[in-house]
Symmetry: C2
Subunit: 249 residues, 2 copies
Amino acid sequence: MKIFSVRGITQSGKTTTIENIIKELKKRRYSVGSVKDIHFEKFAIDQEGSNTHRHRMSGSELVTARGHYETDILFTKRQPIEEILRFYHHDFVVLEGVEDTNAPKIITAHDTKEIEERLDGTVFAISGRISNVLKEYKGIPVINAMQDIEKLVDLIEKKVYEKLPEFPAECCCACGYSCRELGIKILKGEAKREDCILSEGNIKLSINHQEISMVPFVQKILYNAIIGVVSELEGYHKGANIQIKVGER
Amino acid sequence: MKIFSVRGITQSGKTTTIENIIKELKKRRYSVGSVKDIHFEKFAIDQEGSNTHRHRMSGSELVTARGHYETDILFTKRQPIEEILRFYHHDFVVLEGVEDTNAPKIITAHDTKEIEERLDGTVFAISGRISNVLKEYKGIPVINAMQDIEKLVDLIEKKVYEKLPEFPAECCCACGYSCRELGIKILKGEAKREDCILSEGNIKLSINHQEISMVPFVQKILYNAIIGVVSELEGYHKGANIQIKVGER
């Protein structure tokens, strides 16, 4: 799953850029999901007085509204982006206005001042209104999403890598870098996605069908715990493929 | 996780009953979630013209709207209730108007004709408007959710059992009954939740795709080894379905 974000202030062309990107990705037959961060204090998707709103007001901590053509799962808290992404299993996920991520980033802007406010090593393209007057800024391509959407999506295909974990530097750094630093190096062409040593891991863990990332240290503990028991059973041999399912007790 | 549904036609007191139940369950310090089935053809929670609506119209297959105080995951399809319940980890989940479930059921009704239309072995209580004039119907208690909510929730605590699987009869019946039949027997006091034999063997092991039988003693050792590690990881909660794959090292 490849993730990227689009960042920029209101009216800089953010949603229009995303609309065009999604359409072009779909045209190229990718599955696409998206997340929109809403920076409007009073945002509430559910109408006051609706039955689901009444559930929530009574104390229901998770409310789902299921209609004929949609299923809306309404968490009563702001969730971290990593939690949200667990629900996604798409080729590409576009994040609009999301800040708690180190994913590769497209900036939309009116002018270079707005670019500068958001510029960092995770930026691989610039778009939005400024693309009418600029073609490049400090080596980063500025692309018009209305006229040159194919060029922009070519760049997305080339630059955006399989999602990295988002561990804090103190938790992993097993590749020699923090996840954020490795991401920046991949964009620069100075490292590869495979340099994330978690990719090598020979043990995969899912909880409720959602894959859980484990730092190498934890991978090893779980691996040793399992092999320690299973290797005593008939049927086991070194290098065997082992699958374990644990359900409700 | 204990699941029950409330069923009845519009204006029979369904949502009011649920509101009172949720409040009382919360008062008793249970965690509570809920699902509302909306039988209104044109239901759509998202406003036309919103940015998330624009994402969806562009082809995004899963859209999340994240505000300051909520996270709304908007699936573009009607999902089966079993899929929806995977997002829930609450002591109780109340289903309003949901039909694709065999969970224990409370009927709300204006009159006995409406009761009869919904009466089956899964019904353990009746409420709604009819509770103003009736105290029992064919041995099933009729309870007013406004005046006697404690009595109604006492009954919920007594009757509603830990969620059973919802296998079709041809898939399991290992206990001698279909999941629906076993549920009905539990409500009648003729069977116990533990009669579901899937509750016993809560861990399955395959080596090179062949299932390995383990005596309960070994099951427990492996179970404890895994839970001991996994329960320390984010994403874990009691009763989670865990899947682990170990390949060649």
